[in-house]
């Protein structure tokens, strides 16, 4: 796919209900802008995110996927984010090996009070993905327009 100046990446953000989704709400009510390319999916906990969901997103044409959860030690369910961290470490290194660059995936801890951090994270992530251009690996060509 040719990269044009107006190209907009598709970015999926998985946010846990207790910290990061609330952090995104705080970013919203504080009017802290970040690009509209980011679309948030709410999950109860970062540990609910199956690596399969991330593979699916890339398959369907996502250019970047970010997973946000509570800070280590602050998980609403005590240990969920630790599982998420381990799973994502493995998944992301495998994706990197397959050619989905490291910059297209990220795990970030954002608390309910960190609206500023949420906005900054999304801004920097989108900028990174824009720099990398469209994701061509893993993408199901039948899904492309």
């Amino acid at each position: 796919m040719p990269v044009t100046e107006n190209w907009k990446p598709t970015i999926v953000a998985f946010c846990c209900n207790w910290c990061s989704y609330a952090g995104a709400d705080l970013a919203g009510s504080s009017r802290l802008a970040y690009p509209a390319d980011v679309k948030i999916i709410k999950v109860p906990c970062s540990c609910r995110v199956n690596p399969m969901f991330i593979l699916r997103a890339f398959e369907k044409g996502a250019d970047g996927v970010i997973l946000c959860g509570c800070h280590p030690g602050d998980c609403h369910y005590s240990t969920g984010n630790y599982y998420a961290r381990r799973r994502m470490t493995l998944l992301f290194s495998m994706l990197d090996y397959l050619g989905v660059e490291d910059g297209r995936t990220r795990v970030e801890w954002v608390s309910a009070a960190e609206g500023v951090k949420f906005s900054e994270t999304m801004n920097s992530f989108v900028e990174k993905v824009r720099g990398l251009g469209p994701n061509v690996r893993l993408g199901d060509l039948r899904c492309r327009n």
Binding site: V12, S29, P44, Y77, G80, Y83, S111
Partner: protein, 662 residues
Amino acid sequence: MRRIGVFVCHCGSNIAATVDVKKVVEMALLEQGVVHAEDYPYMCSEAGQSHIAEAIREKQLDGIVVCSCSPRMHEATFRKCAEKNGLNPYLVEIANIREHCSWIHKDMQEATEKAVILMRAAVAKVHLNAPLKAGESAVTKRALVIGGGIAGIQTALDIADAGYHVDIVEKEPSIGGRMSQLDKTFPTLDCSACILTPKMVEAASHENITIHTWSEVEKVSGFVGNFTVDIRKKARYVNMDKCTGCGICQEKCPSKKPLNEFNRGLNNRSAIYTPFAQAIPNVPVIDAAACIKLKTGKCGICEKFCQAGAIDYAQTDEIITQQYGAIVVATGFDTIKLDKYGEYAYGESKDVITSLELERIMNAAGPTKGHLERLSDGKAPKEIVFIQCVGSRCSDDRGKPYCSKICCMYTAKHAMLIRDKYPDTNVTVFYIDVRTPGKNFDEFYRRAVEDYGVNYVKGQVGKVAPQSDGSLLVHGVDLLENKQILKKADMVVLATAIEPNSDVRKIATMLTASIDTNNFLTEAHPKLRPVESPTAGVFLSGVCQGPKDIPETVAQAGAAAVKVIGLLAKDKLKTNPCTAKADELRCNGCSQCAGVCPYGAISYETRQVNDHGIREDRRIAVVNSALCQGCGACTVTCPSGAMDLQGFSNRQIIAEVDAICR
């Protein structure tokens, strides 16, 4: 195929100014299964809800998507509306097009495109939503209050008066907290102990209150209505039942070296001590690090003199396990450490003190018996300089970004009291702003200036330099006169910023209650739910939530108590029906899910399964829905994909992913 209705809210202009709501409606009607779509200025209003009700009836909707504010705001409203109109509440999904869209994007086209995508994701999800029914769990009618300061005491008293049992856990040897260290209170100048100690006595004698002092919360498990808490009662080495509180042990104790924490380390105490005279309980503790007997085995003087035979060197820590329905955090505050503020010569000169230290000096039970004197030479100071905002409203990482709120008022109080008692002592206050919002606060400050002649200088102090003659040279600036000031002072008092107690992080982690970047506990909603933590069943009282003075703390303590009473008054609580469930045809009983479950909600049983006509006994995971909190850890761990989370199923989330990436 579901019959789905999409309702797009304008939220006045909050959404409609940035998102073309008509366009969202138009696009919604193109989605598969959407049989109804409309927009309305305020969907959450009664009129808005009646539109939803009407559509449910007329179009036989069995799925609803509301494009509006965050589900944290109105998901419950719309679920209730659906339920009232005969639709299962879990067939409602919210597309957050306000916080996650209209409020953060400026470009209308971009925001509208995003709103359409969020709507599509919600429609895709609601296609797969199953009707769910909330279960019920019992409520343990007992509350725990962590912290025995004025906040904790007031919360406990209010809950206990309503007829529920309350336990107070206090880490110090006595309840009373910071307020017990204060001399007088603004703006009435009544004596702090005189208004606090009756409350302490009331708490101690209340039939519904149990006080655990010298104790700490060790472990918390469970959830709203059903918390299980381990409390560590630290070894006191004094038998609480035998001790009469005569105090002779403290007099006779030969180890007098430890710094007196209650007097902020300005003098010393014995190894066996009660922090202050009105301590509750009036039973001393032995400081194991300072006790000669416990360190070397020799001494035992207190035991010899104790006529009640209450000394017990063999005592060990004890763990109490108790069930609670609600937990209130009232852990309070401390002043910040001043090691990054070398310019004020705190620690270098004994005559540079914090306001809390001055509070102890002014107190009749303090290290100087209430006489205002320099700690270096015992002389009465003739020139005192107060420096405001030491570590508060700080833009660098040395201090805190917030206003500590109480300093302007207590400094006015100190200045006034000093001028009243020692009229020949001059008082100068260096300030950034004087902030006095509160009943009778500004009048109080003006009295300090007008009636008591306190000299207020707008400007900051750059340096306090100890001089060879024992005085302190204050290098300040007067912003209004636009000139530098050099002032010789005998004593400098620093209005030190306050910060949440250092234990609060540990406690927040145990409770999985969230905490902000300044370590204050986060409230469920900053305006509408200020005394509740986002974690159900955990409530906030006092300065652990944000800086407050005493009346505000007492008000918040009462508010927290009301929330607890409201919870404990219920016999049953509705539980979250979004729990995990194993597909018995796919489960092979491998036990991996039970290994990751933080609640021990998964067990295994042998069940007869009909797998495509073949009947056989299989070991299958069974989720106890009363224990499952719905995190979903098991669903990802399950190697055969048998475990799924209701309300956030694999298919639902994939449907959302597909809709977004379409």
